[in-house]
Symmetry: C2
Subunit: 382 residues, 2 copies
């Protein structure tokens, strides 16, 4: 069995700074070569080396600390070598804070036109130009090392939802075998490799996967295969089951989750990091996240409403502009409307995650975020 | 004959602070209730109460001082009353510097589906919803007073290019009659009314129009009916003829012009203010203004070019990012590419206009901007 690069565990220390007395929630400092990530923390997604519509300076002002980018997309365009020639992903996109790249696996299985998939890897046609692309654990590691984020993700097989137990079991076996190959081929000491727990909706497969991935001594562990179309209760069940199975002393990353109730439930079960494309996608479509609700700014109710979008929010949309102005921008399809709502939505999710951190430090997380109550995270407590 | 509101001439003083010894170029301070405009100065266009893709803070950082907005567009959407209820145009769009609204005349004649046009005014169908809209000099003044910019423009008739002498003469007569009605109905003391010289490409009509409009004692004078499709030489001829006919002690605004050679020729002939939608329109289409050229950032030549777009420029596109990154953003149709190039292009035009001001102050405008030489304004002098 492979084991993680020992140098990485020094650079990528995870200090736990506070525990919730009632749940598994904790605050931590995840150290990376580009600074500390204070957890729990929501991470915005910058698919193509840009968080859509947001400048690096604006992104910093949202409170975001760690930013994601997508290996699959960057490999297709502009190609990892151009990113490397531009000084690596941080310099290329001018984000000097911590960064993480996914492995490309999720996108291959959800966006790619797959030709063959076997234990070696995946061959698919590029959705951009039809070119044949060959992705293996080794290739994913090579691309991610070339991109140069602080954290690389293992190349896994994420089965679709729904899938049969046999399909999920096979995907787990392959994910675990690929993880060993990722560990063997990952040789960049200033980049951490996180493993990914799969197992779909099958508790014994999740348990087995958590055990295998946890045994590798990696500097961080992710849970994948959630938020792929399963009912919310199913996701909650997985989060509650798997969270406690992960090693306490490593950061736990719940992939693709960025709704308030789900983040609260996950934090209560020991998760630390979250990502989701929703804040910018909703923003581009004229929707704002306010107090746990989604508001469509196109609605006529905002036409004459000259109050701030969310008076408790410190983003430019809320401190500089009014609902009536945002409504006007969205109605007229102005770029600035998409930009301001994207900034606001990112700010909301980052702020929600850092409010959970503050509540953990203050000993009131369980009371204020009550993650076991359905529809909990009260808008009034953050 | 009507005369301008006497209070306005106090609020809207225009101080000339430097003269070019070789040309009619001058530097000035145009005072408005929302601050001073240092001329010569390029003014970005915020058609729908937003400079497309740019936040007010970003706009301020370009060096822009005065911003335009379009009465025609704002009347259709969201309607001037909503803007007024939101605290007026400055507050509504969160621009606390000087602002100017056009009269709607140009857009009615270029975008409207005109039903009737006579000495009373224009009746047209809204391009938005087909509603019948009646625009007269009095109505344009009422809308602009409700919007509340620092400067309102007279409602004029801008004939198309080409037009016969008889058509242009008729449009001039109407423009002058309408100007008197604008003056009579404009009653907002903290808003300046600028008159507009028309006359197409006919020198005697331009001369007559300059004489009539100059006689009204208004706090500023614009020249319209340029940049409407006529050849560049024709525009240069008009600028050279009309500039010297305008009263020295008032700001001179050349409408719709924002290319470097034309701005330099106009400054040499005593013009002070300029506007153009080109910087943001080009930016949205992936083009950058660099050293007097237009560069298409989609071109493959930029793919591997990790140098700054324009090393002499202080905008975020140039100081934070590389040509290769901008190329990547434009190729992938990312919002951030449009935003950064819009910011860069506005910065370039503002910077060019303020470099002319500096050259006037330093006594080297004629030498360095050589506006009588074809293809002059040397990229190396600003």
């Amino acid at each position: 069995m492979g084991s993680a690069n020992p140098a990485a565990s020094l650079v990528f220390a995870f200090e736990i700074t506070a525990h919730c007395p009632n749940t598994r929630a904790r605050c931590g400092c995840f150290h990376t070569p580009h600074g500390v990530v204070n957890t729990p923390r929501f991470m915005p997604v910058g698919t193509l080396a840009t968080v859509k519509g947001v400048t690096p300076a604006q992104l910093k002002a949202t409170g975001a600390e760690m930013v994601l980018s997508n290996t699959f997309h960057l490999h297709l365009q502009p190609g990892e070598q151009i990113v490397a020639d531009g000084g690596g992903l941080h310099r290329f996109m001018a984000w000097d804070g911590p960064m993480l790249t996914d492995s490309g696996g999720f996108q291959v299985f959800s966006l790619g036109d797959i030709n063959t998939i076997n234990d070696r890897g995946v061959v698919f046609r590029s959705p951009r130009d039809g070119a044949r692309i060959d992705l293996t654990p080794e290739r994913s590691m090579a691309i991610q090392m070339t991109l140069g984020a602080d954290v690389a993700m293992a190349f896994d097989q994420c089965p679709p939802y729904p899938a049969t137990e046999a399909e999920v079991a096979a995907a787990c076996r392959r994910t675990h075998a690929w993880l060993e190959r990722c560990i063997s081929s990952h040789t960049k000491p200033d980049q951490a490799l996180f493993g990914i727990v799969q197992g779909g909706c099958f508790p014994h497969l999740r348990e087995e996967s958590a055990r295998v991935v946890s045994s590798m001594g990696l500097p961080g562990i992710a849970v994948g295969g959630v938020s792929v179309g399963e009912p919310a209760e199913e996701m909650h069940r997985i989060v509650r089951q798997v969270g406690p199975l992960l090693p306490d002393d490593k950061p736990h990353y719940l992939m693709g989750v960025g709704t308030l109730p789900e983040m609260a439930i996950a934090v209560a079960n020991g998760f630390d990091l979250f990502d989701c494309v929703l804040p910018t996608r909703l923003g581009r479509h004229g929707a704002a996240l306010v107090g746990g609700e989604r508001w469509n700014l196109k609605n006529a109710r905002f036409r004459h409403d000259h109050t701030p979008l969310d008076p408790s929010c410190s983003c430019p949309a809320c401190t500089v502009h009014s609902r009536a102005y945002l409504h006007h921008l969205i109605k007229t399809d102005e770029l600035l409307g998409k930009i301001l709502l994207s900034l606001h939505n990112i700010t909301q999710l980052v702020r929600f995650s850092s409010a959970m951190a503050q509540a953990i430090r203050d000993g009131c997380f369980a009371e204020d975020f009550a993650p076991w109550e359905p529809d909990s995270p009260a808008a009034h407590t953050w």
